[in-house]
Symmetry: C2
Amino acid sequence: MPHKLRSDAMDNRARIQDAARALFSAEGLDVPMREIARRAGVGPATLYRHFPTKQTLVAEAFADQLRACRTIVDEGCADPDPWRGLCLVIEKICELHARDRGFTEAFLSTLPGAPDVAGREYTLKAVAGLAQRAKDAGRLRPDFVLDDLVLVLMANKGIHAASTATRVRASRRFAGLAIQAFEACPHRAPLPPAARLGSAAPAGA
Amino acid sequence: MPHKLRSDAMDNRARIQDAARALFSAEGLDVPMREIARRAGVGPATLYRHFPTKQTLVAEAFADQLRACRTIVDEGCADPDPWRGLCLVIEKICELHARDRGFTEAFLSTLPGAPDVAGREYTLKAVAGLAQRAKDAGRLRPDFVLDDLVLVLMANKGIHAASTATRVRASRRFAGLAIQAFEACPHRAPLPPAARLGSAAPAGA
DNA sequence: AGCGAAACGGACGAGGGCGTCCGGTACCGT
DNA sequence: ACGGTACCGGACGCCCTCGTCCGTTTCGCT
């Protein structure tokens, strides 16, 4: 990886990333490449030269979002109270996703083996550990499975609203409901069996 | 409304509706009109003649789904136990939506004032009554609001999976979780405030 | 059977997204 | 300051979708 980019090239690259982040965040993942280029003030060719495929751009654009995600999970895991940690993770991640339209799509992506997979897998693994501890502490219902979390994230993605503010509010309430559904409770009725959604599923178009 | 359609015209109309139902159901609302025409074995012009706008077609195609929806709600309302009725409504409607990709989009549609609005409003009203009775019976949490149901339906829409079967399974479990979150429970923590999603919201593109 | 009208569907032009090529521009080293 | 070159971006061709027009087919009535 020779970093020998000319100064104007580096500049353009940076501006493209900024534009992509802004647009993905606001509009979702399916903004035309053209529009990203336009907002970045470059031609389409330049964009394609820097990021031959949209996935490359997406991966770069959400690298720090993913880092934020990992940070949240790490914080949650660091909490001495695993249940509180888990709640924190759910709340924060839901909010993160509510604020960023594109990130959700990228995260739960139907994209096959995106480069972020490593980070995603790591995150899921860590949460799995946290969940186990929360179960052991008797706060998380014993029949919770990791796919339930994926389910909640997917579901959270389904929440649409006119404004970001409304979406965030709705998402917060949703997270609250999810948490209470996950909480261990003496007289819980059994749940229908979980469906496999999580890691593998290529989820064809 | 002169029903004076020629027999071949009626036949075509019926085949178009069938095709539309099948495709909307399987692929969602954004299948090309062309493809519907192709599957129905007619030309594009014929399709456009019968249904000048996509909304018209959508409305026709989901008329019976909406009826099914109303039936479910009616059954729920008829149940002497309002809580059980409400659970039934949630489960059935989630399943209905999980089975039909397009219906969810049509139901929670961002479409402005679709002709189904009447049915939708009616449904919401009826559920509101049911919910009130369930609250009075002490089974539904008092801080439940109707928008929570909309929230759940939206969220249910977010659930994606490779196969319909998987989606239905996931949806069932999700409904189970939602129900338990809604259930009145002695030591419930307060929820974040609800966001207005329901009836009005034009929800711009 | 034969005629008028209703209905059909292939064909058209516009609009937009995609990925690529090439003449021109601006940077960087000397 | 000047040449070489890395880099830029407008322009091109391709494909897909949309909604409409018009010559042709088919129905239904007598």
